[in-house]
């Protein structure tokens, strides 16, 4: 059987993985939770982020963390373009939120297919010093790449939360999410705010993609799918619209997954996550950290 030290190791490993789930879910939470638009292509934006890292690192030899900034900007722009094409024309129509599901599904198919044309279905990864350097504290080891991803994850979540609370545009984003008509009445340019929210959400997905790619050796056109599912679970688990909740939900899911595999086996890893997820939905439909909707 495994010794206690091994459990501690796994607790740390899976808490870190959970933190990364939080990061991958952050962009989705912003778009889905705050903007109330379903972004089906979330995982694919993550995938584009991964490829951005792969190509900038292998072609130009730059540091993957600089690639993260590049991906944030690049994906932010792609996100805005997507918003103009696929979200803004439908979001205010009756049934608009369901429509965003369909239009972003189209975007998802386009992105995956383009990735197949351009980069082939073969899984790739790139070598970097961060995943080959290890931190060891009290016998618990983790790669620098994973530690950085975890720290960036928490930092981004705090930054986004503060941005929404303190910065003028952030406040406008919240206003739009709470009451678009009211926001318009007080002079907020609602379409512009939505455009920026979507751009920010997709940019964060791109950045998350880069950070994941530093330690997870699976950059391929369908790579977004795994993280996509995790992101959806995390966002619903946390509760729509909560930003801090995402990190806790991510860690809970990561640790559940890790310990589930020890108690049962790896074949159960997804099953266990969904069991916990369903339990939360039954007992707290608003999510762990969400506020219950009131009928008005």
């Amino acid at each position: 059987m495994i010794e206690l030290s091994a459990y501690t190791q796994l607790l740390v490993s899976y808490a870190i993985l959970g933190g990364v789930y939080g990061l991958t879910a952050l962009g989705l939470s912003l778009i889905w939770g705050v903007m109330k638009a379903v972004n089906w292509a979330h995982g694919d934006f993550l995938m584009v982020g991964m490829y951005t890292a792969f190509w900038t690192v292998t072609l130009f030899g730059i540091d993957p963390y600089i690639a993260a900034i590049v991906a944030f900007i690049l994906l932010g722009l792609i996100g805005m373009a997507t918003h103009i094409i696929a979200i803004e024309p439908v979001v205010e129509k009756p049934g608009g939120h369901e429509a965003t599901l369909l239009t972003t599904l189209g975007i998802s198919v386009i992105l995956e297919s383009l990735a197949l044309i351009l980069w082939s279905p073969s899984p790739r990864s790139y070598q970097n010093v961060y995943k080959d350097t290890f931190l060891e504290v009290l016998g618990i080891r983790t790669s620098v790449a994973e530690a950085i991803a975890f720290v960036v994850s928490i930092a981004s979540i705090v930054a986004v939360d503060q941005f929404l609370k303190r910065v003028r545009i952030g406040k406008a984003i919240r206003a739009v999410s709470q009451n678009p008509v009211g926001a318009r009445v007080v002079g907020i340019d609602v379409p512009k705010i939505r455009l920026m929210t979507f751009g920010l959400g997709v940019g964060l997905a791109g950045m998350a993609g880069v950070l994941v790619s530093t330690f997870y050796p699976n950059i391929r056109p369908l790579a977004g799918y795994v993280w996509d599912i995790a992101s959806y679970v995390v966002v619903i688990f946390a509760g729509l619209g909560t930003i801090y909740g995402v990190i806790f939900a991510g860690i809970i899911i990561g640790v559940t997954e890790g310990f589930g595999t020890i108690v049962f086996s790896n074949a159960f890893r997804q099953i266990l996550v969904y069991v916990v997820f369903l339990a939360v939905l039954l007992l707290r439909p608003q999510g762990l950290f969400g506020k219950a909707l009131r009928r008005v």
């Binding site: 386009i110 080959d132 080891r141 369908l222």
Partner: protein
């Protein structure tokens, strides 16, 4: 939703699907997915020939040559598209060589009709039926065992010969099917040869193996290969215990820390791992992270660890990994197989690199089928009477016996006269990654280098 919304949603979906259609077949191959395209019958020989610098000899072939259609069923899109495309390269090259009369014993022209299984069982069965309507005389396919099995069952039902050059699941040739033939080794044989190789290597290095662990991805490939390992383990390692056994979903696994932690606690001498590329890379990376390495880490079933990308992605960390290998360019340096070097040279001209196991296996499968078709033609069967001709090809396949040395590329022969149509001569060699290269280390008597066993720990590399 109002009309405009619907229109926008539908337009986006259509654009996606259109892009997807073109995406499905990158490289030299035009992927055929729709009825219309299948009807057009892709003459692959031309496609391949036009990419070479040499003039296509197919056009200069005598006009009298009989043309025979062969159906190709491969995953050209979906999860296994990468492997399917590699398989197709091998098949296309074989067809090209046949049509260029590189094999004097084969005198007909082979026309390939390609269908995409999308790595889906139902699609494969539908596509097989369509190929049958197209008038193909036989099928080659379909890479994924889980897809090959139902499509082979359908081929058996409609009386269409089906050659399996690469799918390894035992059950494909365990049904007593009359129309299904496998040229490659089955999963049990892979397992048998893996254990045989490791037992030989351990013995040669004077190490007694006391414990082993079995880790495998949980689809048909992993499960059947591991069943084979368990079946023969006591034969080759009579004193070894299985201290850990675990499967995992290869598509969904985001971390392997738990498995490696368990293994570290049990510390088995040998870890047998049946994996695809991404999970194999992640596993080795995680072993390094948790600072543990067994005496031997063995990629069983010739999956991810046998790919060149495995070494590219892991760099020096890939060293000392054992992997089964169906084929290595190394083989062509041997006396017996040197005469087939021209095949790999042609492959290199087309794709700029050496063949790999899957392209070589599919090349061989296509060659064997061609020999059978020629036999059927020689027996006087009329290729225009499609039903009778399929039967004649089946009968011919059942008489195929090609001794080792006469079969292109491979160090083994083909014998399909056995009742279950499972070629008993197909064997699987063992390679170890040493200094960033796959080196054949078993069979020991043919190996150019000696295996490093036990592997050094991470700190001593």
């Amino acid at each position: 939703m109002d009309t405009k919304t619907w229109i926008l949603a539908i337009v986006l979906l259509i654009v996606g699907l259109l892009v997807g259609y073109f995406a499905a077949g990158p490289g030299q191959v035009k992927t055929v997915t729709t009825t219309k395209m299948v009807e057009k019958t892709v003459t692959v020989t031309k496609t391949v020939a036009s990419t070479t610098s040499q003039p296509a000899q197919t056009t200069t072939a005598p006009a009298k040559k009989v043309e025979v259609k062969v159906g190709i069923l491969l995953p050209l899109s979906g999860g296994s598209a990468f492997s399917g495309q590699e398989d197709l390269r091998g098949i296309q090259l074989a067809a090209l060589h046949i049509n260029q009369s590189k094999y004097p014993n084969i005198k007909f022209t082979m026309k390939l009709v390609i269908a995409d299984t999308q790595t889906k069982q139902d699609v494969a069965v539908t596509e097989l039926r369509r190929l049958a309507q197209e008038g193909v005389v036989a099928i080659i396919g379909a890479y994924n065992s889980a897809v090959t099995y139902p499509s082979a069952a359908e081929a058996e039902r409609i009386g269409l010969p089906y050659v399996v050059p690469e799918s390894v699941s035992d059950k494909i040739t365990a049904q007593g099917w009359k129309y299904v033939f496998r040229t490659c080794a089955n999963a049990s044989k892979y397992a048998y040869d893996t254990l045989w190789a490791m037992a030989d290597i351990a013995k040669a290095n004077g190490v007694e193996v006391k414990s082993v662990a079995l880790i495998y991805e949980n689809s048909d490939f992993g499960v059947t290969t591991t069943e084979g390992l368990k079946k023969y383990l006591s034969k080759f390692f009579p004193n070894a215990k299985i201290v850990h056994e675990e499967s995992y979903p290869a598509e969904e696994v985001t971390s392997m820390d738990d498995m490696v932690a368990k293994l570290k606690a049990e510390n088995p001498d040998i870890v047998f791992h049946v994996a695809y590329l991404k999970d194999a890379v992640l596993f080795v990376q995680t072993m390094k992270k948790l600072n543990w390495y067994p005496k031997a880490y063995v990629g069983a079933g010739a999956g991810g660890q046998t790919r060149v990308e495995f070494i590219q992605q892991l760099g020096a960390d890939a060293n000392y990994v054992y992997t089964q290998t169906e084929w290595q360019p190394d083989f062509l340096n041997s006396k017996a197989l040197g005469k087939w070097a021209w095949i790999n040279d042609d492959f290199k001209k087309l794709y700029g690199r050496d063949m790999v196991g899957s392209s070589a296996l599919n090349y061989v499968g296509t060659y064997v089928l061609a020999v059978a078709i020629q036999k059927a033609l020689d027996s006087g069967a009329n290729p225009n009477d499609i039903k009778a001709f399929r039967k004649a090809v089946r009968d011919a396949l059942e008489t195929i016996k090609i001794p080792a040395g006469e079969l292109p590329l491979m160090p083994w022969g083909v014998d399909l006269t056995v009742p279950n149509h499972q070629n008993p001569e197909a064997a699987v060699a063992m390679a170890q990654i040493l200094e960033g290269k796959f080196r054949v280390v078993w069979p020991i008597e043919f190996a150019p280098v000696k295996a490093v066993f036990p592997a050094p720990s991470w700190g001593k590399r």
